[in-house]
């Protein structure tokens, strides 16, 4: 039964305008910088160039953008001069992401992104609709059985225990583990170095020695000694203290960042899908279609392991990064998203199994890669080390320093011994496993990652040989999946014996041959 034509919310225009201006931000900043800041004083010009067109566009869009639900598809009409009608079959839609920042919440609206497996841009971007309309959209697009499931869960949401809930202290821990703070600092410094808005004169005009003197006068004696004495020890102490302070600041920023972005992270089972709600700003509510997960990775850095934690991320076909409308618009968004930014190692396997029942990460029989791979890794490093050593030797000899060029010869043995030890550890902990319905690959020594891909999600399988591989009778095996990002851990098993690689290849082909790929 086709519904009537639906329009965007009456508060849409400002959101559309804001979105457009956000996209235009880069050109605006570019124009302001190019004009040497003169444009900043010509706000009238700026607004005529950017703001007015954005607003006109927003008003027109709000008027002409309509959508309606037919029996099988969502029909979106858009455009004033160039009219566009798009039919999106419900079957192909696999995510309806709602993005809400505080302003959205104040007005009780949401930006809805309708995503299909096609990837890149969302099939439809409804900016903005009311919450009831969003609920209706989800009900229609996510299909009959999923509708029933989601209404069911909607009724029982209060009682239903979420699949995963991340308390604040875990997010604090995550902040401690991760290096997000560096990013915050870098962003700040980048912004500071660009604009005139922070007054450098103020900074240089301050009486810094006076401030230091004041601090010294009030501080206990040993602090004074630190600043006064010119010994090496005090300088080292001072340096360490500054470093420590910096680290603490960065970690605190990390924690703050995670608390803002992932506050109240909850994962609900919703029919066959998962729904992740998180974040203070922006508040994100995103559906992760469990059957469209192509790949799952569990990662644990050294710090993660110290805290006995890991993180889980998944790649879903075609879905774009759910929390940034901008990324989706530019079509470069990653398809990776957190299933759990932080989770106890013991519970990680359990969660993966709950989401993908065929994927059982515990009790796997891991097969190693070739032990002689370590030698090849060291060889590679040796090739890199030779010119570096020669360079340093030349530098030491030529530079007016009392160090002989021969000192550089310490470098190769030290680097190569370390490399040898590290490579052996890496090779020992890198391996693969094949189960009834999935392939697993793990790698890494200090930071470890395990990736699993179900056979139904494999696309093509390939075996690759570099000239070196060829000489050593080795090969690597790679599995291609839909929606694979350019970064991130994936199934790429290096340093296999050719015969073993061929065996894996034919087994994997056999598996893809007899299974259908489902979107």
């Amino acid at each position: 039964m086709p519904t009537e034509v639906r329009r965007l919310h009456r508060w849409s225009a400002p959101f559309i305008a804001a979105g457009t201006i956000r996209v235009l931000m880069l050109p605006i900043i570019g124009a302001v910088l190019a004009s040497g800041g003169v444009l900043l004083s010509r706000l009238d010009l700026l607004s005529v160039l950017f703001v007015v067109p954005a607003c006109v566009y927003a008003f027109i869009t709000q008027r002409v953008y309509t959508y309606r639900f037919t029996e099988h598809e969502l029909v979106v009409r858009d455009g004033l001069l160039t009219r566009n009608v798009r039919h999106v079959s419900y079957e192909r839609i696999h995510n309806v992401a709602l993005v809400r920042n505080p302003i959205h919440r104040m007005l009780g609206v949401a930006t809805a992104r309708v995503e299909t497996a096609a990837g890149g841009k969302p099939e439809a971007l409804l900016r903005v609709i009311s919450l009831e309309a969003a609920e209706e959209l989800r009900r229609y697009t996510l299909g009959e059985e999923r509708t029933a499931a989601s209404t069911d869960s909607a009724e029982t949401t209060g009682e239903a225990t979420p699949t995963l809930q991340i308390p604040d202290r875990e997010l604090v821990r995550l902040g401690l583990i991760s290096n997000r703070g560096f990013l915050v600092v870098a962003t700040f410094l980048g912004a500071a170095s660009q604009g005139q808005w922070w007054d450098q004169d103020w900074f240089t005009e301050q009486d810094w020695s006076g401030i230091f003197a004041g601090v010294q006068a009030r501080a206990p004696g040993w602090v004074g000694w630190l600043f006064d004495s010119q010994t090496v020890v005090s300088k080292v102490f001072l340096g360490l203290a500054v470093l420590l302070l910096l680290l603490v600041v960065i970690r605190v920023l990390s924690m703050a960042w995670y608390l803002v972005r992932y506050r109240g992270f909850t994962l609900h089972q919703q029919g066959e899908d998962l729904r992740a709600d998180y974040g203070l700003w922006p508040a994100v509510s995103s559906v992760i279609p469990a059957h469209r997960i192509q790949l799952v990775t569990i990662s644990a850095s050294l710090l993660h392991r110290w805290f006995r934690r890991a993180s889980i991320d998944v790649e879903t076909a075609g879905s774009t990064d759910s929390d940034s409308g901008l990324g989706a618009a530019s079509g470069t968004a990653s398809t990776r998203q957190w299933l759990a930014p932080i989770i106890e190692i013991e519970r990680a396997h359990e969660l993966v199994r709950k989401v993908l029942p065929e994927v059982a990460l515990d009790g796997l029989e891991w097969k190693p890669i070739e032990a002689r791979a370590a030698r090849r890794i060291v060889n590679r490093i040796a090739i890199a080390v030779t010119p570096i050593t020669l360079g340093i030797a030349a530098l030491f000899t030529l530079a007016p320093i009392p160090v002989s060029g021969w000192q550089a010869l310490w470098l190769p043995p030290v680097v190569l011994t370390t490399a040898w030890l590290a490579a052996r550890q890496w090779v020992r902990r890198t391996g693969y496993s094949l189960s009834e319905c999935a392939i697993y690959f793990r790698s890494g020594w200090i930071g470890r990652q395990v990736t699993a891909v179900r056979f139904v999600n494999m696309q093509t399988v390939s075996m690759n040989q570099s000239p070196f591989d060829h000489r050593k009778r080795m090969a690597s095996v790679a599995v291609d999946t839909a929606g694979a990002g350019s970064t991130g851990h994936r199934i790429h098993i290096p340093f296999l014996d050719v015969a073993v690689a061929e065996g894996i290849l034919s087994r994997l082909y056999e598996e893809t041959r007899r299974t259908e790929f489902r979107w």
Partner: protein
């Protein structure tokens, strides 16, 4: 859109020709053999390679000759440049001549009942398996030189990322069409 229709037209013609030849006249594609692509593809690649090399190298030669004629480039400099240019041209032409043959030698395809295997690569070697169950759609295209020689390029599209589209160039057009038909997902092969 028109382009696509054009291609479809070519394709249908090729299809009609293979049909006219009769089903018994055409040996099955699935024969368990690793086939090389048509040898004439080496010729195509050489023609293209030579044209590119000549086009790129002719521009600096003309510039230097003009410079010499005008008197901006002294005679000895011009002569040495000419020597280097000839050397570079000769080596580029040699590569443009040898490389297609080497590539052809290392390119093999195997057709299975339910998939296609391609091995290729002179230095960096790859064996890739494409099961029909993962084929989204297929293209058969022909460049101008290919058209004169009756060759075509088959492109297989999957939902993957690195292997989203896999091309096999230099097939005889008839084989390319048949292979494209063979590889299309179940409901398309029903028509066969």
């Amino acid at each position: 859109m028109g382009d696509r229709e054009q291609k479809a037209g070519d394709f249908d013609q090729a299809e009609a020709r293979t049909a006219a030849a009769g089903p018994r006249a055409v040996p099955s594609l699935v024969d368990g053999e690793h086939h090389p692509v048509d040898r004439r593809t080496v010729k195509v690649a050489r023609i293209i390679g030579f044209s590119v090399v000549l086009l790129i190298s002719i521009v600096p030669l003309i510039l230097f000759t003009i410079g010499w004629a005008v008197g901006a480039v002294p005679g000895p400099v011009y002569l040495s440049v000419l020597g280097i240019w000839l050397l570079l041209l000769a080596s580029s032409l040699l590569i443009a001549y040898r490389w297609p043959a080497a590539r052809h030698r290392h390119l093999r395809y195997l057709v299975e009942e339910d998939g296609l295997c391609i091995r290729r690569g002179v230095f960096w070697r790859t064996v890739i398996w494409i099961p029909i169950t993962r084929v989204q759609h297929t293209d058969v295209s022909q460049g101008p030189v290919q058209r004169r020689l009756g060759l075509g390029t088959l492109t297989v599209h999957t939902a993957g990322t690195a292997g989203a589209s896999i091309s096999l160039a230099g097939l005889e057009q008839g084989i390319a069409s048949r292979l494209s038909h063979h590889l299309r997902p179940a409901r398309a092969t029903d028509a066969n």
